[in-house]
């Protein structure tokens, strides 16, 4: 709230003193974050990307950010104020900012926008995301091998394609190595609420899950697993190495820095165009955190082999035969999923129980 007023007054000042000359040489880049920069996960990594931009460009760039911005009308106000205060490029880093980004971008045709994990583009709105599902495939493989109760808990955030892709990918690969595996899924309806995430992990553990996958941003489930003693977890969005080597046995790390630097450079050079970027392990946008020694050597070797295959493109995480939950065929033998279907994925694959809330 305070920072918002600060931004507003900064905007007013810029206007009042005709800060054009001042703003001309510096490229101003805004970041809208869904959680606090200290969440240790999703927003933490985006902020690392922001700091990398500052380090790379030094005096030529000025970054501003606002953290813990609720998805919805509030985010629209934040973006509007950033645009008014002279931002040249604004990164909006959560799925729920999709429509607000499009709305604000329509009002500021000269400001460039970049929306993470969405699918709506415009002339001045690019979209970018990472193929987290490739990392999930590796997690699923390790999870399927590590579970003794054959029950894997999954703390999901919101029922959006990105999250559903992750569940499907993890399930397919867990099932492949362990046909008896079952997934229990809890929809937390939050990206960041440590107490709720801890409770969710606790509920899953109490019901016999001995591997917990999370698609929420805090490290609370890691702590719950550690307290339980015999439960395996994976770092989400950030390495969460402080919980290694056990319970955290590996992680998916988002690396946004190269992309952010590229895009800021493009704005400086005047070569920025609206693009849709979706990079995975191969391009380095998704990294797999070190697989700890708690994982048996042969499983680790298999996981690393899969990582290489995903990176060089010789293996696709969604390779047929795969049926949808209702038993209808989705991918035939050897067929791989196309990006369009993946981007809008709204169904479970065969074997998963329960329904996706809508």
């Amino acid at each position: 709230m305070k920072r918002r007023t600060l931004l507003a007054s900064a905007a007013a000042l810029t206007l009042a003193f005709g800060g054009a000359a001042f703003a001309e040489d510096k490229t101003k880049v805004g970041f809208v974050f869904v959680g606090p920069v200290g969440d240790g996960g999703w927003t933490y990594e985006h902020n690392k990307g922001r700091l990398a931009v500052e380090a790379h460009f030094g005096d030529k760039v000025e970054t501003v950010f606002q953290e813990s911005v609720p998805e919805g009308a509030d985010s629209e106000r934040v973006m509007t104020q950033m645009a008014l205060s002279g931002a040249d490029l604004i990164f909006t880093t959560s799925f729920g900012y999709m429509d607000p980004t499009i709305n604000v971008a329509a009002k500021f045709p000269d400001v460039k926008f970049e929306h993470a994990t969405g699918y709506k583009q415009a002339d001045n709105v690019s979209v970018y995301s990472a193929r987290f599902y490739e990392g999930r495939a590796i997690q699923g493989h390790i999870a399927g091998k590590m579970t003794k109760t054959n029950k894997i808990g999954y703390i999901a955030s919101f029922p959006i394609p990105e999250v559903i892709r992750g569940i499907n990918s993890a399930y397919i690969h867990a099932k492949k190595v362990n046909p008896d595996v079952e997934f229990s899924i809890i929809w937390a309806y939050t990206w960041f609420d440590p107490a709720k995430e801890a409770d969710a992990a606790q509920a899953l553990i109490e019901q016999g899950a001995d591997v917990i996958l999370q698609h929420t941003d805090s490290t609370a489930p890691q702590a719950a697993a550690e307290a339980a003693g015999n439960v395996v977890t994976f770092g989400q969005a950030s390495d969460m190495a402080e919980f290694g080597p056990f319970p955290r046995v590996s992680s998916i790390i988002d690396d946004w820095a190269p992309y952010y630097i590229d895009r800021v450079q493009a704005v400086m050079d005047g070569t920025w165009t609206s693009t849709s970027t979706w990079d995975g392990i191969g391009a380095g946008m998704v990294a797999i955190g070190e697989i700890s020694d708690a994982v048996p050597a042969d499983v680790k070797a298999e996981a690393l082999a899969m990582q290489d295959a995903l990176a060089d493109g010789s293996y696709h995480a969604f390779t047929g035969p795969i049926n949808k939950q209702d038993g209808t065929v989705w991918l035939a033998e050897g067929e791989t999923a196309d990006d369009g279907t993946l981007a809008g994925m709204s169904f479970y694959v065969e074997g998963l129980t329960g329904e996706i809330p809508n």
Binding site: P36, S68, A203, E206, S218, A227
Partner: protein
């Protein structure tokens, strides 16, 4: 759906843990409101308590010291509220909201170096004989000391308010500060003490989240628990034992809905997720419909001796 996978013993055990922070915070706020002061800054004091307790817990290795320091920090922050509202006669609602914002900002400032660090946590108390009882032992008698402390505090607050002279004076100040003043009671001093107690309780509540329930520090980790505590005070019609019921009901529904989801219950997730809030609102409506809310008559009113 496989409801048999929900273990009622573990469910009740985790319910008690889940409810303890809101129980502590609500209890503190009850005393504050009984004295006629509305402090909306519970969330801010909680989160400040969370980081202060965590920092001391990490640095000294003693969670007990952490809790004590959290209570002191919560009380100090509430003292700022007390001075503003009682001596400088500022508006209580606005000051309370401001306190929340200050607490959130202050905590993330203090908390920067403590991100991603693990803290020492309270050990579960093994009570001889009781802990070994079948079912009940695991359910009720194998918690950390703070769970029992919070329940004991409910009893103490209830007894003090109902049976002691101090409790009577506190309630008199909350019902009619002019009358209490005319009788020679120091209204402002009594209110400040109540505010300090509320702050200390909120600090403990926050520390319980960061030292026991989660246990680690992340920014914004109380995630609205302070507001729930405020609702529970109204829910309880300002009666201590009902605070216990309200907090456990809220904690219970929260834990139950997660368990139902994990068990694959065929109830829409949206309904389950909103159920804790829905039930809270429902009970509030039922209580309001009965007419007698039990709110202290001078709640939120500014007191000045010359007026």
């Amino acid at each position: 759906m496989d409801l048999s996978s929900i273990n009622p013993i573990l469910l009740i055990a985790s319910l008690m843990v889940s409810a303890t922070p809101i129980l502590l915070a609500a209890l503190g706020e009850l005393v504050v409101e009984k004295s006629g002061v509305l402090n909306l800054g519970v969330e801010g004091m909680m989160i400040t308590g969370a980081i202060c307790g965590f920092a001391i817990g990490v640095n000294t290795g003693s969670p007990v010291l952490g809790f004590m320091f959290a209570a002191i920090c919560g009380a100090l922050l509430s003292l700022a509220f007390g001075i503003l509202t009682q001596y400088l006669l500022s508006n209580q609602v606005a000051t309370g909201l401001g306190l929340t914002l200050v607490g959130l900002g202050l905590s993330s400032l203090i908390g920067k170096p403590y991100e991603g660090i693990k803290s020492p946590t309270l050990q579960k108390m093994e009570i001889p004989i009781l802990s070994d009882l079948p079912i009940v032992g695991r359910m009720l008698f194998s918690h950390d000391p703070m769970v029992y402390f919070s329940i004991a505090l409910v009893a103490v607050v209830w007894a003090v308010l109902k049976y002691t002279r101090a409790g009577l004076i506190l309630r008199a100040v909350g019902e009619s500060h002019d009358a209490a003043h005319a009788l020679g009671y120091k209204v402002v001093r009594i209110r400040i003490m109540a505010i300090l107690f509320g702050g200390a309780c909120a600090g403990l509540a926050g520390a319980y989240i960061s030292l026991v329930r989660v246990p680690q520090w992340t920014e914004g980790m109380t995630a609205g628990a302070g507001w729930i505590a405020l609702a529970i005070v109204v829910f309880a019609s300002w009666k201590p034992w009902r605070i216990l019921i309200g907090a456990y009901l809220f904690g219970g529904v929260t834990v139950l809905q997660l368990n139902l989801q994990a068990a694959g219950a065929k109830v829409p997730v949206e309904v389950l997720s909103m159920s804790p809030y829905l039930i809270t609102i429902l009970v509030l409506v039922i209580i309001s419909a009965r007419g007698n809310h039990g709110a202290p008559a001078a709640l939120g009113k500014i007191f000045h001796a010359s007026r």
